[in-house]
Subunit: 489 residues, 4 copies
């Protein structure tokens, strides 16, 4: 999981890219980078949080009116270090850079293509670096083919000409690279390119604003969470299978390269995206309210008139769902678990026995809301089940009568191949245990999962979107990209 | 404002002091320090957040079964640097260290006493360092007086003897130092001392647990927010005017040195303390629920049947108050402002015009909860008024019909002399403007402040506390410490 | 001025490259870098001294049996930052890296060729990065030409084939790039390449050793100063106009690409190289002894029987020359100036007046060797004249009778276009002043410069070298590279 | 071994203290610190070299017209970390700081005195911190005794009064602390104090200059190596048993507290001090010339007409001795070993076998001066013998005919109790082996040690000094301080 952003502006973009990464930080807190272009490429990357990576002297060097940024989520199973921090760059042709959210499933096979057949060097094992080299090499080959080998490179005449070369290169990518691709690329001296794979698995939205000089400026981002703050208006999604090119004179070119069924990730709505985001024309906040509403209705269908004394969300994503469910059931909602915003490490003193890393370092129950009550905990999902179990145990310690649990997401039974960091199948509790076993493991008297149908209904209920079958492979839904088993770590 | 903690244990305390500071971090994010003792004193201090200051190698050096810790709030008006990071230490007598939450009002006068009359050196302009030197010198003088000048120092016979010297020294402090004092001191080879000024302005609570070996262990802290996590049970407050001494063999000695009317700070309940804390036998969470309830009742008394469509808290302290008020009024509560937990800086690119530091970098409104509605914003208090105004402006931008505002705290009209960082009188909007002017400044159609009586009632409603007149000088309440004007920055 | 080194070994080379850079540190103290290859390229670069740049964790990552290293001299007139720290790399084709000692005179013209005609990106304004991109692009073009554009790249069959492509690429470099080139390049998966321009301006020597397994291992370096330490034997110089390629199986291929008159830099012998180095088959130490000897003979020719009481070198390069001159004249040699090996900065306290950065912070005279004596100071050269003047002034302060000065190098009248950092013509004292004016400026009673003929004789006197006309453009010698005025900063 | 400096000036002293530490860096490269006073004490300490410790922001904070500085030598056998970096400070009385060169032999016994009898805290195991606490406590006791316990402290009337208290305190030190003491102390608001133990083991010199305003300014330092640079004139040594006090108005008070035979350390002249220093009225450079001269004469007495072809010093201390010996013998002197001024670490690559840390990383022989010659190596001393052996081995590798060795110091047979870091007796080769065995160990055909008589003669030959029996315990000379065995690590 990652957050990406790109801007075409009429003044330096680095500060606004920084602000954007702060608003995308929830999509990845492992590392971040910004690259800008003003005939030279300027980049700063680092590990850790955005606020710790960029200093005054970095920002001063990041000159240029176009640029891209990236925040990375620590993906389990791959060894990632500083070398793998995006944006990636290559100097041939032109000087190109790229940021990518998604996952290339047939990575191993494409790596050989790049290194052995195309004689290009890959510095890391990142599928995103490979995507850049594939884009660059396909672009260079398109140039060579269009000129003959006596003059293999040379000056390109017009932006239209250049966009036709880009379309050829992106078609090459879509035909070779299997998996999810939401990517932004800066081509030095040429402009900025946005592309999204034909299934549209990962989100990518586009905004526009008019500068003081009356010129259009564009932003592309994983979520529109920074649009209001920066004065942009949400225009539309980058479409599945689409490539967009904004040339140096600010003209926007676009084309659909390939069409497939639209399968955007449903987990963005359950957990990943920020509640104030609008993705694929669906409000994340409304989707969550509807999940809570549906959860309430399924509660009634399952447990009849039984009602908890209080509904407490596992903070903070579940707050919206819990509030809607409480309204639906007509019971009290309470922030009964205080979440400490300050995170610490766990130090083990030599003289002490081993101490488990514990949820109780982050959450504190409110005794008054719990003591002698039937408490219903609402969480967005149950993945490994360990955090949920720990929360239940704390609620019991503070004197609850009965403890019940509701998950706004159906059982998670499979890892994700398209870019969400879900644990291996062995770690997923719902993959190993029946619902009754999960209930016993958590130590609750009642357990409710939202059904797949109700979840999809909550996301797709209404609006001008054209989403009918969101990707839910992780919930046992159908695979829709061929050959996908290849690249799973 | 600061957070302090001290522990007497039977194993190394550094890791648990660290955990405690993480749970006190909301009381001060400017700097922090830990000191432990095992015949040597070991200390680590730093500026910034607790999680950034302490590394593995620091923790390994912080050996010892007793120790103290501190988190500092950046106090306006004083130049504070690394040298002023607590705990402070002095090598005469014994090796002593101290952490302090509070403010000494007659600092300037006492500084002369320490330097000129007592020939001691003050390395900083911190009133807390002065408190340590005053404590150390008074203790040394008590020793000299008890022995005669032929043997001015020398070995002390028993813990009882030593506690009598401590009582003399603390009596000296209470007679000389005017202001608020909640302090903890480690005396090398002797034990740990807790003291609280006779008015009990700042909080200080005590917990106990029994070690695996069956021995009592003690914790003293500004709030009991880490007690459950560390296995301690809340015993009681350190009493106003009390000194407690835990000697090296684990015996707890205590004495009331001086008695005055009990005047604990009311602002702890309004804003400063964490909701899960129990201070002066009053639950902060319950106090805030009652503030919301009283706010609802005063709304009805003021505006009759008029009801908002939705109540939205200014996150996060006001959530509890807003939820209780919504229940009292029977209207919907909604988390209509998303608070980004990731904070960034504001970079100004050379080519850009100056950009104001803005609330909208931290808060994002939910359009669905706002559009065409009458929105009531509930906040814990209005201090300068600038943040509130900005929130109102955003709510309007997102299409609210009318915007109303309620503050769970009466108008703040005066700075605090006893340790809360409230701006100067000039910056306090309620000190300069009438309620109608404030309403106009905020740009709202309706404005409600909770009354002082209702606030005090909310804090003191019931329970086994003996608090009748909490300090509310900042709300225009009476001064109760003589000579207090002296030390105000 | 820079120092470069490259190794082909049968085990990891990073530690030995590090040791080599320590032995080349005198050739550049501004920044340094190491790159190794083991199918991946691994690099570490930094500013400052070698000992401060490389840490344990860096060395652990620098795996691979072949590698290159570089130390950089701060070249006046160009803005250089971290981005310009060598080795440079490019990912097309293969993954290539390069280190370079020298200067490309027609940089501006070639920059356009690379960017506009060849569509490659240059990240810096370093002529060395341009040299790498030129090498890489010429190699890629040679590959495309040899295959046709239907399969522009693809697998290369044999090392012999590959060396023929390298020869084409280096011929391209020698025909396009005017200036001095001593360069080493790692080609990922292919081996290591050494090249030296046809005039052989900058040094480059080659050593060989046999590994424990009986295999040949090779080193290429600016100087052989680390050969003994690492167990290598000096084989020969890389010849002017030669390219050498060591393939992955350890076979050494070589070819002379172009022949020109041999014009190695004479200033290496005067000042730059370490005394224990053997360059172009001439010992630097012997050359300096002969300079001192010739200086003694020219003293006698100029001043007859006049003798100083003592000869004191300006430490440390001149020690060898001064000792030989003292022997020739039969007078005492003394280390009368102590050179503090510890260097500090110059801090100006706010309350102090400006203080000049002074030679006397680094050198301390020995009164006993100076007082009432006629002192002859011997230095390797006089460039700006300011340091010499300061030394003379100190010697006078300590009571010398007369102070005389001898320079082992003729007047320096022109900046260098081929890689030695000599100041601009305006700063060169001998370019502005007559010898009598220089004598007055220094404040000495007698001044002697070695003649150009005597200097060349000292360097070329005997041995199996084929050097007849070393480059001495800086001393007014003839220009021998066409178009050279173009690239001077 | 350490270097200390203190200044009384009429403007900020930090920059000049920094310059002084650069000139004392050879006396200790392990850590350094500066403390200044301007009614507040300001300090900066750090580990490593002076040039790396002090930054602009540190220097700006180090305000004040008086101050002290220290460079520390890593003393074997004691665990020393950052906490032990001088200057040490204590806040009672006044605020005092101290730097110390020397060693307190009865440390363990005095530690108990300070902690148990005087109830003071020692933060480290440094004898220098103990010296400060002893000085401070004795001064405080003198104050208490002079006033009675009803007013144990209080204002001091005059500088004369205060100097009488200082004299009492220093007398207390000299009667209690056995060992070598050269110390400087800043007393906040009072001035600066210099003291030297009655035997005068470690050096301490005093300089004076007149400020632009016509006021006297004073410097005290281990060596006068920075006097010329800073404009000071050497006045005299601080005398054995003397205490000097410069009060805030610039008046210098001095008194001899105790008199003993004068026993300055002879090893300062052999190795430790810089050649340009004048200590105890004896020039280190002249002493070394005379050592070389005496070594030449003893060579003739021992080996008759046998002469080496060349004399090569082990750089750099022995250069002076070797030059004088070469003159005495009438043979050629040559800098046949090049010493690389750039030091690196030794990295061991995982794939490589263990590699010994080797002299050949630092020294390179000149083949021309060695091949087929009888080479006499001159070194200042032979301590462990391992470096000497390695040098001999290199000289043989480069083709010497015979290799001979001469040491300007007699056999070192005993560790030092007074502050020079000489290894334990077991490590000293001359303590375990006969001269013939040492010769065999080194692998030389001839070995000569200077005799003790000739060494003492070389140091004391002439001049206005009153030194007759310098301390040479390390060479087997008599112990002269009682009880000294106690404190040896």
């Amino acid at each position: 999981m990652c957050g990406i952003v790109g801007m075409f502006s009429n003044h330096d973009v680095a500060a606004e890219l920084y602000d954007s990464l702060i608003q995308l930080q929830h999509r990845g807190q492992d590392s971040a980078g910004i690259l800008t272009s003003d005939s030279q490429l300027h980049a700063k990357r680092g590990t850790g949080l955005v606020r710790d990576i960029f200093q005054d002297e970095d920002m001063e060097k990041l000159t240029g009116d176009i640029g891209i940024g990236h925040t990375r989520y620590p993906t389990s199973g791959t060894r990632q270090g500083f070398d793998e921090v995006q944006p990636f760059t290559t100097s041939v042709p032109f000087g190109m850079a790229l940021v990518h959210n998604g996952n290339i499933v047939n990575y191993a096979q494409l790596r050989d293509e790049i290194i052995i057949r195309r004689n290009r060097y890959l510095n890391t094992h990142s599928d995103s670096e490979m995507l850049l080299q594939l884009f660059a090499d396909s672009l260079q080959r398109a140039m060579i083919r269009s000129r003959g080998h006596s003059n293999p490179t040379g000056k390109i005449e017009s932006d239209e000409d250049f966009f036709s070369l880009i379309r050829l290169a992106v078609a090459d990518i879509f035909s070779l690279a299997k998996g999810s691709i939401s990517a932004l690329s800066v081509i030095n001296g040429k402009g900025i390119v946005a592309m999204r794979d034909p299934y549209g698995v990962r989100p990518l939205v586009m905004g526009e604003r008019v500068s003081a000089e009356g010129k259009s400026e564009y932003i592309f981002a994983s979520e529109d969470t920074m649009f209001y703050m920066l004065g942009f208006t949400l225009v539309r999604d980058v479409l599945p299978g689409e490539v967009i090119y904004v040339s140096m004179d600010g003209i926007l070119h676009s084309a659909i390269i390939e069409e497939k069924p639209f399968c955007p990730c449903i987990f963005e709505y359950v957990y990943f995206a920020r509640p104030d985001a609008m993705l694929n024309n669906v409000s994340v906040y409304r989707a969550r309210l509807r999940m809570g509403q549906n959860l309430g209705q399924e509660w009634i269908r399952t447990f009849g008139d039984v009602r908890p004394d209080v509904i407490i969300p596992a903070p903070s994503t579940a707050n919206t769902m819990a509030l809607a469910m409480a309204r639906e059931l007509g019971v009290n909602y309470s922030e009964g678990l205080y979440k400490n915003p300050f995170i610490g490490r766990t130090f083990i003193m030599p003289s002490q026995a081993m101490r488990r890393q514990s949820v109780r370092y982050k959450l504190s129950p409110q005794r008054i809301e719990i003591r002698n009550k039937n408490v219903l905990i609402v969480d967005d999902s149950i993945v490994r089940g360990t955090t949920s179990k720990e929360i239940v145990s704390m609620i019991r310690d503070f004197g609850a009568n009965q403890v019940w649990f509701a998950s706004a997401c159906p059982p998670v039974v499979s890892p994700c191949h398209y870019g969400v960091d879900i644990p291996t199948a062995e770690e997923l509790i719902a993959n190993r245990q029946t619902q009754e076993e999960v209930r016993n493991f958590l130590g609750v008297e009642k357990l409710l999962y939202l059904s797949i149908e109700a979840l999809i209904e909550a996301v797709t209920r209404k609006g001008r979107h054209n989403m009918s079958s969101p990707c839910h492979v992780c919930l046992g839904g159908p695979h829709f990209i061929s050959g996908e088993k290849d690249g799973i770590a």
